[in-house]
Structures are given as C-alpha cells and as structure tokens.
Homo-oligomer: 434 residues x 2
C-alpha cells in the first residue's frame, strides 16, 4: 500500500477508527509506519500511537522531529502525553515540550511528569470539568460548555471551593433540573470518593472496583483538586498487573510477548532456568550424599521424581492462592491460623496421594513393606512442608513490602524440590536405617 | 453489634456506602447478615448483595422469602437482578419474579434470563437512554429526563429508528448546544460500535478495551437495540478471567479462595496432584526400565531431578507465553514459524544451561567426559522438546476450541517430566551404551 500515493491513502485512512489505524501500523515495518504517522491527522495518530507496543512506538518516535512529536502530544490527553514524554530521552524531552503550542497543556504535562508511574499522580489526567460552589446554575452550564471542549468524555463534574479544594460532585441530572438561579452549593453532592496523588496505583484500582466508579478525583496533600483518573486507565492497569503476575508465576521476569526477539525472550527466561538448574544441582548433591542407599535400597531412588513433582505442584498451588488473596486483600486473620489450616488441607491431600502410591508401589514396583511405609510417610510430610513453604514465603515477602508474586513459579518450585528430596531421604534413612 | 437494637443500627448504617455494607456483611455469620439485609433499605442492600461472594449471598437469599428477594431485585439493575435469579432454584425463580412490583422490570429480567452467561446478552442490562431519530431536541431532552430516572448513570444516548433499530449515538455536548427545534437525525453521530447479543463475552471485553469504550450497545439479530454493557461489568469479567487463568496455571481447577472450606479446596487441588503423581509413577517406571544403568553409571541418575526441573520450567514458560498471546489475540503467523523460533530460543537457553552444568558436573561431581557429554546433550534436547510441547499443545487445544489455559501448570509440567526423563535416559544409553 505504502507506495507514495499519499493523498489517496490519507483519504482512505482518515475515516478509520484510531484503534484500527493502530492495528494497521503494527503490521507495517517502522519506516512505513512512520510515513503513515507523518501523513495522517494528529487527531487520529495521537490516539493510535497510544495503542501501540512500547517498543514499536519508541522506534516511530525516534524518526519524528521534536516538533512533530509535539503536534501529536497537542492532541493527546495530558496523562497519555506525559507517559509518552517519560519514554523519551532527557534532552529530547525539553525540546518536545517547548514545541507544544498550547502552553497550559504543556504546563500540565510537565506537572504530571513529577509523579511516580505507579501512583495516582502517575495515572491521572488534568482534563476534568470543575465548577466552584459559589456559581449559579446558569453560570455553571456556560462554564461547563467551555471546559468540556478539552475533555473527551464528561465523567463527573467536580465541585471545589474558592481555593480549589475538592468539596463534592455534581450530578448532571440535578444540574439539568435545578432552577437557573440556584447556587451550586445548594445542589451538589458533598459525598465523593477521592484519592491522594501519592496513593498507590493498586489501591486506586481496588477503590474504583470496590465502589464501581468510572472516574475518581485526585487531590494533593492540601486537598486541592489536581486531576482525575478514569476507569479505562484502570482497566489497562489491571490487565497489565494480571499479566505480570501470570508471567512471574511462569518464571518469566519481564513483560515479553511471543513476538519479541529471541534475545529479549532469553533475557526474560534464562535467569529463572538457571535458578531451576541450581536447584537441580542441589538435588544432585543430596542424592550423592545418600549414595550408599543406591545399592542397599535401589527402589527408594526411583520415587525421587514423584516426590519432586508433588512438592513442586503443592507449593505452586499454595502460593498461587495466597498471592491472589494478598492481591485482592482477602487474606485476613493471623498467620498461625492460616498455616494450621494449610497443614490440615495438606494432610488430607497427602493421605489421599500416599494411599494411592502405597498400593501402586507395593503391587507394581514390588517395594517392601518398610520401603512402602517410608515412601508414604515421606509423601505426607513433603506435601505438608511444601504447602507451608508455599503459604509462608509470599506472606513474609508481602510483610516486608516485596511483591509476593516473585515467590511463585520457579522460585517456590525449586526450593520445594530441594526440601522435598532432602526430607524424603532423611525419612527413608530414619525408617530403613541404611 | 447485632443485639436487637434495630433502629439505632439502621440509622447508623443507612448512610454507609453499599460497598462498605457489603464488607461488613461478609464479616458477619449468615444469620446476622440476613438480619441486617432485612433491616436495611433495599436501596443499599441490593447493591451490597451484588458485592458479596456467590456462596455467601446464596446462603442469605435462602433465608429470605420470595417477596423479600423481589424487593431487593426491584432496586437492582436488570443485569444484576437476572444474575441473582439465575442462581436461585427453579421453583423459587418463578415466585420471586411474580413478586416483583414493576412489571416492565420483571419482563426485562425474564428476557435477560434467556441468554448464556458468557455472551453479550448475558452481560447486558436493559437500562439505557434511547431516543428516536425523528424527535426534536426539546422533545428529546424531556424524554431523556424521564428515562434517566431508571438509569443509574448515563453513559451514552443511543439513537434508533422508528422500529427500534440502532442508528447511532448522541453526544450530550451536541444535544446541549443544538437549537431546540433541530431534529435528532440532524445532530446524531451515525458511527457507533455495537455487539450482537450472541457475541462471546471475551470478544466484548476485547472490543471495549480496544476502542476504550465505557459502554457498548447490544443489538439482536434484527438490529434492534436491546441493551447495553458497561465497562464495570467488563472490569469484573476481565479480573475473573485473569484469576481463572492464573489458578489454572497453578493447578487449581475451580474458583477458590484462601478462606474456602478444606473440602472445597481439596476438590480443586487434589485432581491435579493426582495427575502429577501419575507422572511421578510414570517416571518411576522409566527409571526401573533403565535399572541396569544404576550399577554401571550411578552418576547419571543423580541428575534426574535437574532434568526434570528444567523440563518443567521450560514447558511452563513456553506455554504461559503462548496462552497469554492467544488470550490477547497477538499470536499471528503460522505454527511452523512459531515452533522454529521456539526451538531456536530453546537451543540458545539449552546451550547456556548445558555449559554451566557440564563444568559443574565435571569438577564437582567428577563425571567422566562421556557422562558429561551425555548430560549436556540431554539437557539441550530436553529443553528444545519441552519448549515445543509447551508451545504446541496450547495452540492445538485452541484450534480445537478448548481453553488453552488448561494446558498450563501441572498438565504441561507432568508431561514434560516424563518426556524429559525418558529422553535423558535414551540419550545416555545411546552415548554410554549400557
């Protein structure tokens, strides 16, 4: 397509939805994509750019001049513009900001850059409809029409006092039905949920979900209304968090996709494989330590993979439930009760598994009574131990302020492998006495 | 608190936000909770009920009479009410519906019950603001005020033709600024995204995310506007899906929480542990089959846990990336290219791991050159094999219409364990020739 017929292409694509343009761009190589971005209206491309993969967008932006980037940012909401600028190199950042035409817009963007990405300040946008409590309904409607120009969608109308302090919100319905000369102070709803600029993004997501909010106002430490966060940003945030946790549980340490380069994929995957390898070598030392057993009780060793698999699976199950509970803030009560419950659950599962293994090992692998009993007791012990490790480590990490999700996947599997195999041999040694 | 002083309690709680009431209910036992639900205004409790766990809500509803349930449903949006009714027993369903005062509301609910939970029809609500294209602006504003009574939040105004067919949407801004006598047909926006009642819920979520929509209209097969889906329902859906996938990957087969009963947790966890156990027994048979090696090359067996752990980890990594890619619809291109890329990636990772193991096994475990080489080659082969299995199975399941997420976790780990160990012994046999 991209063979120079600019006008025809522009005519064709200017009617497209930005999300479709984004999909199209993603299919092209970055030179063709850059060409298209330069060609099309900033109104469409600015939104399309936001939908692209970070890497791909960066490559396109590298090929645009600071003033071209500024044109795109002029069309964006302040929160998106700030995200884009944060991705640029320091020296380009300043140039781009200088090129933004609307000075108020530029100032808002610079202001947003101050906040940490993972806080309410980092998520919020400056675009919102605000009215003062002293205004009349008629003045308010006039003022709102003016403000609404800059706001893509009116979620809520926020009411502030003279100094800009958040006082409440206004329902559009009440505004439409109130007499023209009434004052806002008579009709606004003084109850409004809000968050502070420093509130953690995760907490913002939790609050918005809990109260089913579509937008939430953000205030600074003085109570001044400084921005608002809308649900679509939260949807993206929730999805990203879920994907990060999922990948973490699978032993992938960075946000990668199936189509990333082999180098990037290796960087995300190899470290965890190395941890698993170290665990495997640890297990090898343990077996070497119990080498004498190989000759006296050769049957004990054939169940090592069973013990290992069971320990790993139980650990992952336990940790997944705890990590999810921590994320949703549904883990209550004290840690001792929780560990006791987990032990009881593990005991139930352990006995069930042990019984099956006992029968099968005895009749199919012809283990002696003592060997069978060693294996059975070992399985129960290992399952309980694995469940406790899987439950305890995430809670401990969470208490220390570390994301408990790192404790899932290979980390828990590897530590459980080693503990499991060691426990198994110790119990076998105790019972069989080699 | 709940010691009979009903009036004081009611005065205290009627000012609470419904989400806080829900949290409070969840802390109580179900008798106390039922007492509170009967005591408080349906306006609050109806919303609070929606926030409760399914099980807990069911136990409260069991203690309410059909007419008491109907009172709650009267206050709910049609989509929530339909979800609640669907949870009740068949014979109670009819009684409850008969008790609903607002007949139109009741008819809407019954209508929604027809749709499958996982389709747009199952997610949508009947509450929406609709205007006909033939109306004037003034008539429209009047009519809208009336309709808005039943709609908690006005997301969008939808425009239909005389027969109710969806024609487009109306922006509130345009409506406010248009002359009173203009016709809707002159000012409405004819471009509007919509979904069919039978559209898969996952696709609805994808569309709403892609186009950053806060509400989407739903039409039936004739194009008639029948309902709308709001983003908050989609947020819940996305979260539930992410949690389900996460649990599936961790080998937990039902939606359970840390606070569920031991029986329920066992039911969700034991089956996967059994699968892992069968895998372990399979591995035991394989080792038994190569028993002669234990005496001639005892060092080979100590690396079985290493092989097993590596195979499992690689399989989980590969499958997680593919499953996530399939869920986000970012897996493109044909399957052969993907498998080739995965093999290449596995080769890189495999060589890295093998080199480290080669050195360590030789110097710390004193393996012979031939043994070291067997181990190294086996590791590379096993990693490639595990990566291919991890990539191929989810794609295959997806093509067959099965949720690929079931292929993650214990399933992939177990099959990789067995294949890994078998491959390891076969390669060792080939090279060492015992």
């Amino acid at each position: 397509i991209a063979n120079n017929d600019g006008d025809a292409l522009k005519g064709l694509l200017d009617d497209f939805h930005f999300a479709d343009v984004a999909e199209l761009l993603q299919e092209l190589n970055h030179e063709e994509a850059t060409y298209l971005v330069k060609l099309l209206d900033s109104e469409i491309t600015s939104e399309a750019l936001m939908e692209l993969d970070d890497d791909f967008r960066e490559r396109i932006l590298d090929n645009l001049s600071p003033s071209e980037i500024a044109d795109e940012l002029d069309e964006m909401d302040t929160d998106d513009a700030a995200d884009i600028i944060a991705e640029l190199d320091d020296h380009i950042q300043k140039q781009v900001i200088d090129h933004i035409e609307d000075e108020e817009h530029a100032a808002d963007i610079v202001d947003l850059l101050r906040y940490d990405e993972d806080t309410a300040g980092g998520l919020m946008a400056k675009e919102l409809v605000r009215v003062k409590e002293t205004w009349t309904v008629a003045g308010c409607v006039r003022e709102m029409r003016r403000q609404a120009e800059n706001v893509t969608r009116v979620h809520s109308i926020y009411v502030t006092d003279r100094h800009g302090k958040l006082k409440g919100r206004l329902s559009l319905k009440d505004l439409l039905t109130a007499p023209e000369r009434a004052h806002i102070s008579d009709i606004y709803i003084p109850k409004v949920d809000y968050v502070n600029v420093h509130t953690d993004a995760e907490d913002v997501a939790r609050i918005m979900q809990k109260y089913d909010l579509e937008a939430i106002p953000v205030i600074d430490d003085e109570g001044i209304l400084v921005g608002r966060i809308t649900i679509d940003d939260i949807v993206d945030f929730i999805k990203e968090e879920a994907e990060k946790d999922y990948q973490m549980a699978a032993g992938i340490s960075q946000d990668v996709e199936a189509d990333d380069s082999i180098f990037k994929l290796t960087k995300a995957r190899l470290p965890w494989l190395m941890i698993g390898m170290l665990g495997g070598l640890g297990a090898a030392s343990i077996i070497t330590g119990f080498q004498s057993m190989m000759t006296t009780f050769p049957k004990i060793i054939i169940f090592v993979p069973l013990i290992q698999a069971t320990a790993g699976n139980v650990g992952v199950q336990s940790s997944a439930i705890v990590v999810q509970g921590l994320a949703n803030d549904t883990i209550k009560g004290n840690i001792i009760t929780r560990l006791l419950k987990e032990s009881l659950l593990a005991l139930v599962n352990g006995i069930a598994i042990a019984l099956v293994v006992l029968v099968i090992s005895h009749f199919l692998f012809f283990t002696s009574y003592l060997e069978s009993i060693s294996i059975g007791i070992a399985i129960i012990t290992v399952i309980i131990l694995a469940a406790l490790i899987g439950t305890f480590i995430p809670i401990l990490l969470d208490k220390r302020g570390i994301d408990p999700a790192v404790a899932t996947g290979p980390f828990i599997t590897t530590s459980n492998d080693i503990f499991g195999i060691l426990t198994y041999f110790l119990i076998a040694k105790l019972i069989l006495g080699f």
